[in-house]
Symmetry: C2
Subunit: 668 residues, 2 copies
């Protein structure tokens, strides 16, 4: 490996805090750090067995084949870890978090959906009998499942799905059909060549009546031969921007028959004679979706932490431009413009990690309440998970791309691992709920809350209580001179945006517009209101959790984490300055102070920049980056990676004689 780069060494020497203390703090204690590292040891232990070929130089087909090989090894390890835990959502969290952090994502895993959607759906939607039949086999990976909801012509609007499942009482079977081209299931992970089962979302018909969408377990391929079963038309959807190992597939049905007990019947049922028994609570389906969105928010923390680590370390090693005659060129991390690109990204890693962790805790509590029959907090947690998924994916993707661009040309190089990190992360802006649609769902909850706010009986749930406070207190307050005041500023913005949207919708409806048209005309501002609400959530959670966490830490750790919280708050205040200028009493005159404060924070955090990303504790095997390795030997690694290009195996490519020379000689 050779020696550590001198600049990085110096950076580490000047770090103001104890590294292990911060790592332990963020893990939740030294025991948890130890457990995490042991799991990571296992997860990276068999890499030699499958990572024998650099997958980036393979063809599309070979990439898939490599992804199956990799998945088989990685998920065997995960299964080993699982067998040490128990099969419930609580341990599931640690296992998933561990998998997402330490796995070699690359082109993705065709089996990931099995864990992220197939198993959780069975847990939340199958009856006890059905769970007995399916859960253990799924959990042990004796079968591998996909999730087939989206169709070629239908995404967001689930009621518009066209696939039908018609009950035939004579054989006690459901008959599945894809009546049109647009009804083909599309996108299911692993659906192309990998999964042998799938959860299929289809319109249920029985006794001649449609009862809306329901879930069905459908066997797709023979367990022995893997051949598609009769009535199943299945295949791969083709090349994508990234995640080409995920094997997203299409699926069409032609009179495909499944037994009655393969409709998931925890809530609604179809009896043997075809009688439909409605679910007592239609909100139940949201549970699995909330879970998936929380997983995605956590996953974004991994992607962003990797990108920030790579970009910060590279910026400490890279020197460019002589700022003083006679001195060596400056580390690019010393440029304020570079700090402006990278340090908010570092702060976002901490902010999203803390917030997503807290949301997962809240979700676990709400989930226990739901198991006990109390669904009161579901709408709130659903609204929260929608906007957090949207903002976490958008912020992460955007900061990752900023980190990538901040590495200049080398950030365009695949071996930096920044291009794949961006392309993988940005996919999450679209999957499991497109971000604009999700923000509008949050906005719908906020608008409803606002309309009920003066209702004496209307008790507001915790995350929207501030709407009432802000309404009473009004929008006059000092200005943006503390994190608390910035949080309050965003609360006022959220409250006033929602108020103004509701008002404009009411005005439109009063002059004869339909509710849908009024909603549409307000939607750009509604999205913006949901964003402000989410920013309130992240800022206040991050700030209060860090206050709690640093009660007993060293003053150095307390100081640097307070700086990170403040930087995050001030950065977003500046990013959303026009809202603060419009809706609060701050004026242009305060803005210069805010900017000066921001620049001071960048300067204060600069000496700890490398320490703050080292504390993410991401080993080289997880970063897989020529630019981001711990020892900072950037240029040696770039050259080694270049030499691996298959084009370098021969001095002259055959195309010279065949095409290039005839062209140069004017013969083509």
């Amino acid at each position: 490996m050779g020696q550590m780069n001198e600049d990085l060494k110096r950076e580490r020497e000047k770090c103001s805090f104890n590294m292990n203390d911060l790592i332990n703090l963020m893990d939740g204690g030294p025991d948890k750090t130890k457990m995490r590292r042991e799991r990571e040891d296992i997860m990276i232990s068999r890499r030699d067995a499958y990572a024998d070929i650099p997958e980036e130089y393979l063809s599309y087909k070979e990439q898939y084949e490599q992804a199956v090989k990799k998945s088989a090894y990685v998920f065997s390890l995960l299964r080993r870890l699982q067998h040490e835990g128990k099969t419930n959502l609580h341990n599931y969290r640690d296992v998933m978090a561990n998998f997402l952090r330490s796995s070699d994502v690359g082109t993705g895993f065709p089996i990931a959906i099995h864990y992220i959607m197939f198993i959780p759906t069975i847990m939340s939607q199958a009856s006890e009998e059905q769970q007995a039949q399916w859960l253990q086999r799924a959990w042990d990976c004796n079968i591998v499942g996909s999730y087939a909801q989206t169709e070629l012509g239908h995404g967001t609007f689930i009621r518009g799905l066209e696939t039908t499942a018609t009950y035939d009482p004579s054989t006690k079977e459901f008959v599945l059909n894809s009546p049109t081209l647009t009804s083909y299931k599309w996108w299911g992970g692993g659906l192309g060549q990998t999964a042998n089962y799938a959860i299929v979302v289809a319109q249920l018909y029985t006794k001649g009546e449609c009862h809306g969408v329901h879930l069905f377990i459908v066997q797709l391929r023979d367990e022995e031969t893997h051949m598609p079963l009769p009535g199943i038309k299945i295949g791969d959807v083709g090349l994508k921007m990234a995640l080409n190992g995920v094997n997203n597939g299409f699926l069409g049905f032609n009179n495909c028959r499944i037994p009655r007990n393969q409709m998931l019947m925890k809530h609604s049922q179809v009896l043997e004679d075809g009688t439909y028994v409605r679910s007592p609570n239609s909100k139940l389906n949201y549970g699995a979706m909330v879970f998936t969105r929380v997983v995605i928010a956590c996953d974004m923390v991994n992607y962003l932490s990797k990108a920030a680590t790579i970009a910060v370390r590279f910026s400490a090693v890279r020197r460019q431009c002589q700022s003083k005659a006679g001195e060596p060129e400056s580390q690019i991390l010393d440029y304020l413009t570079q700090q402006h690109k990278l340090l908010p990204a570092v702060a976002a890693c901490y902010a999203l990690k803390v917030t997503a962790g807290k949301l997962w805790d809240t979700f676990s509590i709400v989930n226990e309440e739901m198991i006990a029959g109390n669904y009161e907090r579901l709408p709130e947690i659903h609204a929260l998970s929608c906007c957090l998924k949207a903002i976490a994916t958008r912020d992460a993707a955007s900061f990752i791309e900023t980190c990538r661009l901040a590495c200049g040309g080398h950030g365009f190089t695949y071996s930096s691992n920044l291009p794949a990190t961006y392309c993988n992360a940005v996919a999450a802006c679209t999957y499991e709920g497109e971000n604009t649609v999700l923000l509008l769902q949050t906005a719908r909850f906020l608008a409803k809350t606002w309309q009920d706010i003066d209702n004496e009986n209307g008790k507001l749930t915790p995350t929207v209580e501030y709407l009432k406070t802000a309404k009473v207190k009004g929008y006059s307050h000092e200005w943006v001179n503390s994190v608390e005041n910035i949080v309050y500023g965003f609360q006022v913005v959220s409250m006033r945006k929602i108020a103004s949207c509701v008002k404009s919708m009411q005005t439109r409806v009063a002059s004869g517009a339909t509710f849908e048209d009024a909603w549409n005309m307000a939607s750009v501002q509604l999205v913006s209101a949901a964003e402000a609400h989410c920013r309130v959530m992240i800022l206040s959670t991050f700030s209060s959790e860090i206050k709690e966490m640093t009660r007993t830490t060293s003053k150095e750790i307390k100081r640097v984490l307070e700086q990170i919280v403040t930087l995050y708050a001030v950065y977003w205040a500046l990013e959303r300055l026009s809202d603060l200028l419009q809706y609060t009493t701050i004026t242009g005159a305060h803005v210069d102070n805010l900017r000066a404060w921001y620049e001071e924070l960048l300067t204060q955090l600069r000496p700890n920049a490398v320490g703050l990303v080292d504390a993410f504790d991401l080993r080289d095997e997880m970063l897989q980056s020529t630019l981001g390795a711990y020892d900072g030997r950037v240029y040696e690694r770039l050259m080694e990676a270049a030499l691996q290009s298959p084009l370098n195996a021969e001095p002259v490519n055959y195309t010279f004689q065949k095409y290039l020379k005839p062209f140069l000689q004017g013969k083509l």
Copy 2:
């Protein structure tokens, strides 16, 4: 091809203006449209000869090989077109514009750099004798050149380059060397396996003295065998985020000798005895860089127009969510949030096309002036080309990604052509001058202008005259109720930001900071000032040119183009609202009016959305998109493209038996 999609048909029926008239207007007249289309006929005429394999499913090495084949055919056609023109920069523009528009970019061309850098550099930097020796051969593509400036450890800061060219008077040769790993040339297009010559930028040493960086023509490979010449270590840099057919390479020298007359000597010379003769004007090297940046701005218009066409047509075809019971699902183009994503992108196509065209005209004039020995406007045009390159690439990349995300999951599909369009376009944010560095160059010009502004003799050049006007007139003006007032608002913002940066730098220097440190601490705001300046340029050029162009058009065309100009202005006013709120007299109370105006413009433009992208006149062969084809048969094309995936050639992949089954059976 089948019938046209009914929704698209309806969209075209309701378009308010005459399509051919708008196409002709944007081309500059019916003759120009005719000529352009004839050229495009030629450019796409031999596609069958090389586009026989869908390149997206190939391995990295095969993609390069396919790119050479494609290049040989495409550039033969370009050479044919060239032979009909003349070899000067004026006709070069049409030829390049045509190439950029109509060529099948895909993974890029390893020969493109030959046209974009190699030939223009010879034209601007070689002596007449040298031009006689090299230009015709280069122009006829008998040799193919690369451009080797950037090194593994050195990008932006050209003075820091390490490659040396030492004159040896005994043999009248230069001896080239790469003294360190970081001095290896890196990134040159086509440098890996394709080019047989390169312009090399190296530190010139003669008579024991270093004279800074100069340009040299170096032969890399034997013209017959293509084998690398002695002293040349050359290869491919490996996989990138995109443009993998471009064959970016590395290049190292070990006592590589070239004749004295291969230093480009139009300006500085080394005489036979080694005497160095300094250039009378060191600014001359900027000419070729300005040219390249103008080409890039035009190229961005192509990328963005393609993305906007694809996304708008798809949004007319795609239906999602039932907004009224009993009615069909709505076209997603009817959602205000979707219009908010797409219509500003459409407006940006028009704005950047008009502005880049005007800049090219200005550049041509300045170029003539420079040929005549007048360099007065070079600093201004250089500053302008820097910020326009930065803003055009950043805006284009960001709008393209917004267009891509606006197509949901299908925008992640490679066959939409949106992923490649984004990844290709975003590369331009980094190459030929990293955007932050370029904006700081513009800021340096602005700061210098501002410091001279009160100097009685200081005559301001046209593009910065507004600084003086705004300074005199001050920042009180009505508010943002017209395009003129928005332009003026941005002028005030630019002026006040520059003024405030200069002041804060002066304060810092007065209290003992070095100029470099003061500059660094102001740099985030300096970047923002340069952006505001560029926005002034784009807004005012766009607005005045459209006024001029629509003097004699139909009133329908005049109306829709005015709406586009206004939308562009109002969109950017809202995007930069915090600056306007801070630096002008508008207040929060005006903002609601501005938002209402924006939403009204979206609604007004909605019926012409498809017409406005149809008017880009991009044929299906150029769009190459399943989502964007003229006939709107989106779903049929997506399915056809999916079926071409090599994974669909067999029902069961071999990895099932080899890896998946052992895993499912717990045997791995």
